[in-house]
Symmetry: C2
Subunit: 422 residues, 2 copies
């Protein structure tokens, strides 16, 4: 299935997209805080949003817009203020920002989608926002993907960006993505955001179905601390500029496109998990032998979200008991006497019984994986997401499989989240 | 409803009970590790157990025994080994230990209930266990409640014990309880245990119903780290030695008994939450205005289990945004524009809007409540559970109400759970 290659360019790698990221003055730090993703032509637009009751104005806005018409020309994203818990004023501010961009671009306001991240309960700095719009539009370019990736982050340590290319009908079809997310601090820098651009031609209904399935296998399978944000947003555009035939039903081409979409989403999601607050490594939990794929994903997410398990990984402790205990409370039926657990290459438990294993070597596996999961380049710290700590669990109760990703729980997580205000 | 008074004596305060706690040599530390609760006559027995798939032999044993007959004479509890993930051997060991006690007491083995706590995946030290039985039985006395409370703990910093007395038909009816639980360490010191003794006369069915409801409002409403143990067990005995008329259906007397049972369970549950690993305070989240009581409890438990919220409390940070965000993701419907949040006496949010409040004073409320939540007596540190940090949330969507209890997330939680093995 993986017949694609990685290319450069991020979200501006697909044909017909421009992007920009500028400093409008919304963040007190003076870092870039306003991002634009622009499709030259109307793009099919699909979205997946936070399910929480307490949510931002931009989330309600996007839901309404996508119900009205499932296409868009632009995604406008600000960092600094989340525009959540801002009531009627926040709703009006959302409408205004979309209107300002639409006027500057001379497009229908309904063609603008919105996302925000930052402090909850503060009104957006609308004067700075409005003043930044012309500058943002002027900055939009076919090489602006990295600038946009930079402008959507808050407390992230690294930016997250990817681009892939495959062949359909002998023509290149490209997909790019950026994401942000780390946790919630300062005091409420919330939000996981993901934006995907693609130049494939695909039907509205199919694109939304593909995105929902991909989200279930990626963004919905990561956890940093179990807290859902008020602003979580994933939007995917497909503008047909690859000039391939429209994909309107499932089949080999659709499967190829969905596999690539899933890969992009998984990369972006893993990058968020690795960048979790205080994290020293990325953890991948692989579950097999479950009654269904959904069951497997549920067990994987429960294990990777266990504070006890996460603390053990931080301490390089190959603690199979915590893995077994977390798997057992995931509300998925299995026979504990068939449980198998592996940590990397180390078989820790089989048929429900603990096995003797080389504990120092297993601890060393954790230590080395963690040490290798970040590296220095050009004076900056970067993360590697292709070599996570791997926990493999077989439930012995079916053929369902699934994965989830997370990070360890360190002193720094507590420090970051305890010591802001006081 | 609260027409009871606190009395001394713990689980041996009710008539007709003896208890003991001795050092049998199951814990490497040499601390007491074997406890017995004994009713002179057959007592109605009700139980609530862990719902996890990966569970200890003693849990399966108790479930089977209580299905066979809902009465018991004795509860035998060991600390040191959890007898979980021990397969067929563990099952046989459970049967053996019950048999040894039954022989020593000259009672039916089916009249013995079992509980274990300690390391998962290690066989119990059965030789030491067997040798300890005669000593344990010999030590059983009407003043042995404290010794039993001491012998069931593992990593707990304090023992948890309570006794209450009320009047039914002009006669005293007494209830006692002990519990243990703190988290999971070393490497898997799991388990929340609760044992309640009572001398009321009550029908089997009613007693089990009362216990299930009380557990839903107490033990099921606390969270230290979201991890469910393999061994969680709550058993309540009622032996009728108060010589009051049998309570066989709901009515004023039954309500009085159930209220007292709920109070005992809540006290014991709160004591566990306050003693959570690394905790510096007890947190009580009160939810009103929910569609149902169950909904209210769900929101309360979601908030009190949020790592972000728990970290903020540790940092004395009156962070309403995290409270609102956690409430919103609890899968309970409400209108975010009606949300109200109070921290102690400080109104932080009303009608979904953040309010100005005295931030230093609110932070000081957290600091002082934490400082007062433990005290020194006779050279020992003791906990206070009657003055928690209080978060009050009104959802504005009904008349359902409920509470949950937890503790803050501190550096010490991570330290305790990360640094055992390595």
């Amino acid at each position: 299935m993986a017949d694609w290659q990685m290319i450069s360019g991020g979200i501006t790698a697909p044909r017909g997209y421009k992007a920009a990221g500028i400093t409008a003055g919304l963040k007190p730090s003076g870092a870039p805080d306003l991002a634009l993703i622009l499709s030259e032509t109307d793009a099919i637009a699909a979205g997946v949003f936070t399910t929480t009751v307490v949510r931002a104005a931009c989330v309600d806005y996007c839901r309404q817009r996508l119900q009205k018409k499932a296409s868009a020309r632009a995604i406008l994203c600000n960092a600094g203020q989340a525009n959540a818990a801002t009531g009627e004023q926040g709703w009006q501010d959302a409408l205004d920002t979309a209107g300002w961009l639409a006027a500057e671009l001379n497009i229908d306001p309904d063609s603008v989608l919105l996302a925000s991240t930052g402090v909850i309960g503060q009104r957006m700095k609308v004067d700075a926002f409005k003043a930044g719009i012309p500058q943002l539009v002027a900055a939009a370019s076919e090489t602006g993907g990295d600038a946009a990736a930079q402008a959507i982050v808050t407390t992230d340590l690294v930016t997250k960006s990817i681009a892939l290319e495959t062949q359909i009908e002998g023509r290149p079809v490209r997909m790019g993505g950026i994401s942000k997310g780390s946790g919630m601090i300062h005091p409420n820098m919330a939000t996981m955001l993901g934006f995907v651009t693609c130049d494939a031609a695909v039907s509205t209904v199919l694109w939304q179905e593909m995105l929902s399935r991909a989200a279930d296998k990626s963004f919905n399978q990561i956890t940093v601390d179990g807290d859902t944000s008020t602003n979580d947003t994933l939007i995917a555009l497909a503008n047909g500029q690859s000039r391939t035939s429209a994909i309107t039903e499932m089949g080999p081409e659709a499967e190829k496109l969905e596999a690539m979409l899933t890969e992009v989403c998984q990369y972006l999601a893993k990058a968020i998990a690795r960048d979790g607050e205080g994290a020293t490594c990325l953890i991948e939990v692989q579950v097999t032998g479950a009654p269904s794929d959904a069951d497997a994903r549920q067990v994987a997410k429960t294990v990777v979200g266990s504070s006890l398990f996460k603390s053990a990984i931080f301490g390089n402790d190959p603690n199979w008991g915590r893995i077994a205990a977390a798997a057992g409370r995931a509300d998925v039926p299995f026979d504990q006497d068939k449980l198998q657990i592996k940590l990397g290459e180390f078989l820790l438990m089989d048929n429900g019984q603990p096995l003797p294993f080389d504990r120092p070597a297993a601890s060393n596996y954790l230590k080395e994986t963690s040490a290798n999961s970040s590296y220095e380049k050009d004076g900056k710290t970067l993360h590697r997401v292709d070599d996570p700590v791997i926990v493999a669990i077989d439930l012995g109760n079916g053929s369902g499989s699934g994965k989830a990703w997370g990070c360890d729980l360190s002193y720094d997580y507590v420090k970051i989240n305890a010591e802001y205000t006081t």
